[in-house]
């Protein structure tokens, strides 16, 4: 179907239109209908329609711009698809989870849709300022959503931390942007990429700008040392929301890194001092982030905190892309982002489902789960092993792509500069197995206090099955999505490669 016939000049933002409509009408629907099931159904239908529209545009290979601000191509299409998967998974369980149904339904859904909208804004943008606005839309909506779990003091504390630290990061980002604008006279990233190539040597003011922006956006992806908020917030927030933040909002942060720094420096990577300095900066952040995330995760007893630290580590893996700066690395990074949605999302969903069934958040609460809920225990085991990178699950395939991308330089020639990073990453995967195996051991090997069967709400089961299918199919047949990742990487970096 030709989308331009329906949406005309607005085709590029067609998937967003449905979300804007949803964000605006859902509070009204709730007010008039007074039935949270209706509100939920309307929201879900709009989200699914948006996803379908986007898939059709993506498979048609649509490329176009709208409103002089947004540009839709294979890259933005792929990430919009990722965000809509997260949104749909999140919506599926929101009406069934005891944690979210107590919220003010209309406002909750409006915030979620607004946050997703912000993510999609970001990936459609190619200007520092529009990206900034998109990130803020997501952040502010998330602060509010986290704080909705008012009866829980942990949530209140988490929300306050989130707002204060988030505010600082915003300030830093803005400072960095103004620095770069002052030096270059533009906020358009394509123009910045061209400008960087003309720089004779490292400019310290540019360095200040870069550091401020890396710090600001580093907060969004919880890169070490800007990770402190993540475990508190993921632990304190309602579990579906933790999933949303860990899989959706973090992916937006990573995309920001790709869209700004990768695009700006890819042409000078391994060529100029500036390019190399930026590469090494990211390589060190990546190594520290994955190591700290994995090591601290070992000591966690709360499963949500453990998953939070594991998310920190996963962001470290994906930051390998920023060190290697090649098209192949980017496509592997995008693929890992996709598989991460299913495995980490699935793990959080199971935690959420079990909370609904009255099981606690501590690892010790999972003892004997294999008897009480055989399917959930098996699914959890697969998600965790996928996160640890055990074949033939999706996590293995995507980590294999990601780590092997360090071996190849720009034109596919073998390059040994970043092999050490791959070694650190492989070692980290081994460490991570330790804490994942702890949960599996609790579920399968330790004895529970009873063997009563646990029943979880049906929507959770649907969402978990979707994730499970994703984890297995992407592990066995990665080409399904990897082709899309490759065209996305080509669309983002193509114009900047010599």
């Amino acid at each position: 179907m030709d989308m331009t016939a329906i949406f005309g000049d607005y085709t590029a933002i067609a998937p967003l239109v449905f979300l804007i409509v949803a964000a605006l009408i859902l509070p009204g629907v709730q007010l008039l209908g007074k039935n949270r099931n209706i509100t939920w159904a309307v929201g879900l239908v709009l989200a699914v329609v948006s996803m379908v529209v986007n898939i059709m545009m993506l498979t048609d290979g649509y490329v176009g711009a709208a409103l002089d601000l947004f540009e839709y191509n294979a890259y933005s299409g792929l990430l919009i698809l990722l965000f809509s998967i997260v949104l749909v998974l999140m919506l599926l369980v929101s009406n069934a989870s005891v944690e979210t149904t107590r919220f003010n339904t209309g406002a909750y859904y409006a915030l979620i849709f607004a946050a997703t909208l912000g993510m999609m804004f970001v990936v459609l943008s190619s200007d520092l300022l529009t990206i900034f606005v998109g990130v803020e839309l997501t952040s502010i909506s998330s602060y509010a959503a986290v704080s909705m779990k008012r009866n829980d003091p942990r949530a209140a504390e988490a929300a306050v931390k989130y707002v204060v630290v988030g505010g600082m990061s915003t300030a830093l980002t803005l400072y960095g942007i103004s620095m770069i604008y002052g030096l270059s006279g533009t906020t358009d990233i394509a123009a910045l990429a061209a400008w960087v190539q003309t720089l004779p040597e490292i400019n310290l003011l540019l360095g200040v700008g870069i550091v401020a922006m890396v710090a600001g956006y580093g907060f969004k992806i919880a890169a070490v040392p800007f990770h402190m908020w993540a475990p508190d917030v993921y632990e304190g927030a309602a579990t579906p929301l933790s999933m949303f933040l860990a899989t959706g909002s973090k992916k937006m942060g990573l995309s920001v890194f790709f869209q700004i720094f990768l695009v700006m420096f890819v042409a000078v990577a391994s060529v100029s001092f500036l390019g190399e300095t930026v590469q090494y900066l990211f390589a060190i952040i990546a190594a520290i982030t994955m190591t700290v995330g994995n090591i601290v995760a070992i000591a966690q007893n709360n499963i949500k905190r453990m998953l939070a630290y594991s998310s920190v580590a996963q962001a470290g893996y994906i930051l390998i892309v920023m060190a290697v700066m090649s098209e192949y690395a980017l496509s592997s990074g995008l693929f890992h982002m996709f598989t991460h949605v299913f495995m980490k999302g699935g793990a959080f969903l199971i935690v959420g489902a079990l909370i609904c069934a009255g099981v606690g958040e501590m690892i010790s609460d999972y003892r004997g789960l294999a008897k009480k809920a055989p399917f959930l225990a098996a699914a959890m085991m697969l998600f965790l092993f996928s996160l640890a990178g055990i074949p033939p699950l999706a996590g293995f395939t995507s980590k294999f792509f990601l780590f092997s991308s360090t071996l190849y330089g720009m034109e596919g020639a073998v390059d040994s500069t970043w092999v050490w990073l791959a070694f650190i990453a492989v070692l980290n995967s081994a460490i991570s197995l330790y804490y994942y195996a702890r949960v599996v051991k609790a579920m399968y090997i330790e004895k529970g206090d009873n063997t009563e069967k646990i029943k979880v709400p049906a929507p959770f089961m649907v969402a978990i099955v979707i994730c499970l299918v994703g984890v297995i199919v992407l592990g066995v047949y990665p080409q399904l999505v990897f082709d899309l990742c490759e065209s996305a990487a080509a669309a983002l970096l193509g114009p900047y490669l010599l």
């Binding site: 001092f273 300095t277 070992i298 004997g368 071996l407 399968y444 090997i445 004895k447």
Partner: protein, 676 residues
Amino acid sequence: MFIEYTWLVPLVPMICFLLIGFIGQKTPEKGGYFAIAGALISFILAALISYEYLTGDVYPAPVTEQIAWFVIPGGFEINLGYYVDGLTCVMMLFSSFISTLIFVYSVGYMGDQGERRKRYYAEVSLFLTGMLGLIVSSNFLEMFIFWEVMGLCSYLLIGFWSFRHPEGDAASANAASAAKKAFLVTRLGDVCLMAGLFILLFEFQSLDYATLFNSANIAAVDSDMLTLAMLLIFGGVIGKSAQFPLHDWLPDAMAGPTTVSSLIHAATMVKAGVYLVARGWPLFIQNAEVMLFVGIIGGLTAIIAASMALNNMNIKRVLAYSTISQLGYMILALGAGGYLVALGLESGSEELIVAGSAGMVAGCFHMMNHAFFKALLFMCSGSVIHAVGTEDMRQMGGLHKHMKITSITMLIGSLSIAGFPFFSGFWSKDLVLEIAMEAGSHEVWFTVLWVIAVITAFMTAFYMFRMWFMTFMGEEGHATQHCHGESPKTMTVPLMILSVFAFASGFLILVGLDAIVSFDVIPGGFQVGGGHAGGALHYFEHLFTNPYTYLTIVLALVGIGIAYLMYVKKSINPGMFNKDGESWLYKALTKRWWFPDLYNQISWKVGYGVARGVDYVDRQIVDGTVNGLSGAVVGGGEAVSKAQTGNVHDYSSMVLIGVALLSVGFLMIAMVLGGI
């Protein structure tokens, strides 16, 4: 016509796994018959494939067929496919055959386990899938995937008793920690393996066997990197095949059902490591030092494990140590043979290459024989445990009268492993010793290893017969009085079939088993037996003219004799050697040379300690410093009100510190690179 269907060999047990998983509880034996049928079909297929391959025109060149699985830009693609050569044939034949017998035996052994049998049969089917997949894989990545599948299944199977162990809660907890240990220790090896595979990928731009095992391609790569890669890959072998210093997980893995031990020790899992060395042989033999290292690890493992079996009282643990020890033999044979080939390649001496290739024959031959007699021994011990309800040999004794079939079949197995003349273990063990001796004439270390291997052979004969005498001869122990009598037919028939193989599989070397070896070390290919060279047979001319052979035979007989005097005649008191269990050596052996304690110290104290430490630093010290700093910055009053504000401002100060660190990092990098 059958070789095209090689991919079915691992697929059939996989389908059985799914069938059992979905409808197992509704079928008789909770899916047991599916598991048996799956293994049997795989075995029949393997037999047809092997027949077609070994009599076909292509032989001895390998047959490989692949389809593209996914493509990675940067010039290489990952394929899925099969690779059939002599090694593949031997491995898949004995794995599927022994697995079939173990599954039949399980029907009797696990008969009283009720609904849990479904989980058991599903997991063993998947386990077999892992092993067969590993064997027929056409590239290292595919192999690695099946390698991990097997690791996962072993985790589940070893932990099988973890709830409701027949012997109570303490045994359950034991099973749980054993499973975790097996999983994590082998994972440590797997990390090395994965790193090694990355280097191979980096050097060869491919992981396909067809590309890697090509002498022209090998000559083109950086030999130092290749050496590093092979050392790392051998790290994976050390983990999986329980070699020193990662040997400690295997004795603990005895916590699983005995059938699982049998599966892990004989047909699958630990054989995967030895298989990997044999499979990667063309790459391993590029460096003599690597092969020396392999040989030393093998020899050390053989004697350390054998020493620990000397005074153990648990029937399954004695067998576990003997497995480790025998695996050491296989690795030693591969190392010594590889060393000779590596020397031959350096000096261009075809004679050395021929001599060394017999080392691979010896390793694989011993692996096959070991599979038969160790499966037999484990299943016999399972039959005994089933009948008397304990694993402690002090409570057994005099069982021969009650269980004649088990007793005689176990005797055959013990004679075979002890290297009694004309039993299968005799042929392969002496071939291993021959190779070590031969390598010893070029490198003195191998002479030392030969001595170690001969001592180990003596120890093996002693502890195996100590076990057999303690179990079946002598006075009736406490548990013997409650013996249920001989086990059911489903258990004894597999024992009898296996005992035939445990006795006779050694004769296969006389009818051309040595012809299986085929690899490409010099352009144009090279075969022992099957083609250019004379084969391992010429060693058997030596065998009966060689005084050392008689030395090992005599030592084996002496070992059996001492065991007889100690445990049947009681004319020698075992206590006089160990001061009644008080001597330093006795304690060292009981404590397994303190390896478990060492690992506990390392993994628990250090590993967990580091994690706790980092967490503490993350939460307290960084926070505390930040707190102090922010207090100083914002002012004294603020610092006092910390209680009200929580540690939000600590976190925000953390952001600022992070920025400072980043800026310093940026400057440092720029300076190091020379940009400023």
